[in-house]
């Protein structure tokens, strides 16, 4: 299957009359879209695909979808381990540079696979006393060092270990009786188009050294992915990538991981307009939710902000004149950065109407929730 043969699932959030009765601000997630996204991306890649729970740790959503996540779920905290333990037999993979002894012990007790991020974590493991049998481990490599691009643009982050440390980790883990089954590397969010070819090439080149240290073939490599939520638009890149992957897939089991690409299109954020006003001739809609509940909409980390145009769900039965100017949609905090969208001239809108922001299914929890003691958003699912 190729990317261009996979149709993007669609949902018309605004057609649901129920939008008007939801307690706002809120998120609405659609499990069917999550399942469709997962299946489509896995087919497009032709490899195994683990799910990064940090992108959407909602328990109800996980429960509705987990039967499909057969290649495993990646977890980065003890809270995420709480979500998953007891509920799946698929692989649980705990991967964080901030591993504490308690998280490591809880992960082992939960029959999870550990991803070692540093030699220090290897030492932590060696000194742990646990009764539960330990599953073979995975080592996380630094994407920047693996691709010999230290400090450059792209994957110059603080995750993983250098190749020499990885070989040393293998030797140390062999000494304490733990088998290393795989390698993991992740170049960062939205890096698929630019970094994936180099990751594949570098991993393929490093594999013989690893297998020499292990004394056996490596069972798997997880190449991360960094897939954007509009990954379907990368038709040419996917075709080339699958071709590039072939030598590696002949040698070992290849995995990717995804979060944003699976959950992003499967949820929307809904907020209610509390007031309309004009400030210095500029129309503004003040809403009951914004930056505090959907931080990413404020685009605080973007230099050039491309404001989202939400859909308007009419609740107010009045018929005010259409907007004559572009309207700024703002949230409920006292931060001047709390600008979450815009409405174009011609739009009809009034207080109590709901604004629906699509593509908000991933990283909904990435918000400064305690600011002003504002209520957290409600979460809903579609049956």
């Amino acid at each position: 299957m190729t990317v261009d043969t996979i149709e993007a699932p669609s949902v018309d959030w605004g057609s649901s009359a129920q939008i008007g009765i939801l307690d706002t601000p809120c998120y609405v997630f659609d499990p069917k879209l999550v399942l469709a996204q997962y299946s489509a991306l896995k087919s497009a890649l032709g490899t195994r695909l683990t799910v990064s729970l940090k992108a959407n740790p909602n328990l109800d959503l996980f429960v509705r979808c987990s039967h499909a996540f057969v290649d495993g779920v990646e977890l980065a905290s003890i809270g995420e381990l709480n979500t998953v333990v007891g509920r799946i037999t698929h692989p649980k993979i705990v991967n964080t540079p901030a591993m504490s002894p308690n998280l490591m012990a809880a992960a082992i007790a939960s029959r999870a696979t550990l991803v070692f991020d540093s030699l220090q974590q290897v030492e932590m493991f060696s000194s742990l006393e646990t009764r539960t049998p330990k599953l073979p481990a995975i080592l996380r490599l630094s994407a920047a060092e693996l691709t010999e691009n230290p400090g450059g643009i792209g994957p110059g982050d603080h995750f993983g270990m250098d190749r020499c440390d990885a070989l040393e980790a293998i030797r140390r883990l062999i000494r304490v009786g733990l088998r290393v089954r795989g390698l993991h590397v992740f170049a960062g969010s939205n890096t698929f188009a630019t970094w994936s070819p180099l990751i594949v090439e570098s991993m393929t080149r490093f594999l013989p050294s690893v297998e020499a240290a292990l004394g056996s073939p490596l069972e798997l490599v997880n190449l991360g992915g960094g897939f954007p939520d509009d990954w379907r638009s990368l038709t040419k890149q996917f075709a080339q990538y699958r071709y590039d992957l072939e030598p590696l897939t002949r040698r070992t089991q290849v995995y990717h991981e995804a979060g944003r690409a699976i959950f992003g299109p499967a949820g929307c954020f809904v907020t209610k307009i509390l007031a309309l006003k004009s400030v210095n001739g500029r129309p503004v809609a003040v809403c009951d939710g914004g930056l505090a509940q959907c931080f990413l909409l404020a685009q605080t980390e973007s230099v050039i902000k491309r404001r989202i145009r939400p859909h308007v769900f009419r609740v107010n039965e009045s018929t005010p004149p259409p907007l004559s100017k572009r309207l700024q949609v703002v949230g409920s905090t006292c931060s001047r950065a709390d600008i979450i969208g815009e409405l174009d001239p011609g739009t009809v809108v009034a207080p109590d109407d709901r604004l629906i922001f699509e593509g908000c299914g991933a990283y909904a929890t990435y918000s400064p929730l305690s600011f002003l003691s504002l209520a957290p958003p409600n979460h809903y699912l579609i049956s």
Binding site: F29, V63, A109
Partner: protein, 197 residues
């Protein structure tokens, strides 16, 4: 056994054989979709307060292999039971008692008022209590056995088995299985008469 697909729409009473008139019929099926398609519901499941490794080890013991999807929340399952009950009473006004299988419950989920009615009984295993009730001479008893999953920790295969014990209700039961709106979410696999009452 009569294989009848998603719904026994074409089933004729004569295909059941003469035994159905004795009054015990059983429908076996499987919930294959949400009974409330498209409905938006609030996310309410809570995680356990786990912090220590031995607690994780204990909860991990609940894990079991299952390809059966969770299609409903605990609240929706109970709401569907209410719909089943209301619909069954419309088709079988002679019903005197309905016994639901209701296993370990989520402690945060309040039972709907309709399931606390005096003509409804909730039991971990309905069979002994139904047998005893029938032995006492009471008839027109509906038994609903189910193992619908509402959480990943639940064992079950979304099976629904509805049995009617009672000659006056049996004709209505066939119509209930054929046309009852709540059973549209159930893939009916069989509808058979039971020899033992």
């Amino acid at each position: 056994m009569t294989a009848i697909g998603m719904r026994p729409l074409a089933l004729k009473n004569s295909e059941l054989g003469p035994e159905w008139q004795l009054g015990s019929l059983r429908m076996t099926g499987r919930l294959f979709r949400s009974p409330f398609p498209g409905q938006v519901y609030k996310s309410n499941l809570l995680m356990g307060p786990l912090t220590r490794p031995h607690e994780y080890a204990a909860v991990a013991e609940l894990e079991h292999v299952s390809a059966t999807p969770v299609l409903v929340s605990p609240w929706q399952r109970d709401a569907w039971f209410v719909e089943l009950l209301v619909s069954a009473r419309q088709y079988m006004p002679t019903l005197s008692l309905t016994v639901f299988r209701m296993g370990g419950r989520n402690p945060r989920v309040q039972l709907p008022r309709e399931l606390l009615d005096e003509s409804v009984l909730l039991a971990h295993d309905p069979r002994p209590v139904v047998a005893r009730t029938l032995a006492s001479g009471r008839t027109e008893v509906m038994e609903i056995w189910q193992d619908i999953r509402t959480d990943g920790m639940d064992r079950g295969e979304n099976t629904v088995v509805v049995t009617i014990h009672g000659p006056r209700s049996a004709p209505g039961f066939i119509e209930f299985v054929r046309q009852g709106r709540p059973l549209a979410a159930v893939e009916v696999r069989s509808l058979v008469p039971l020899m033992e009452a």
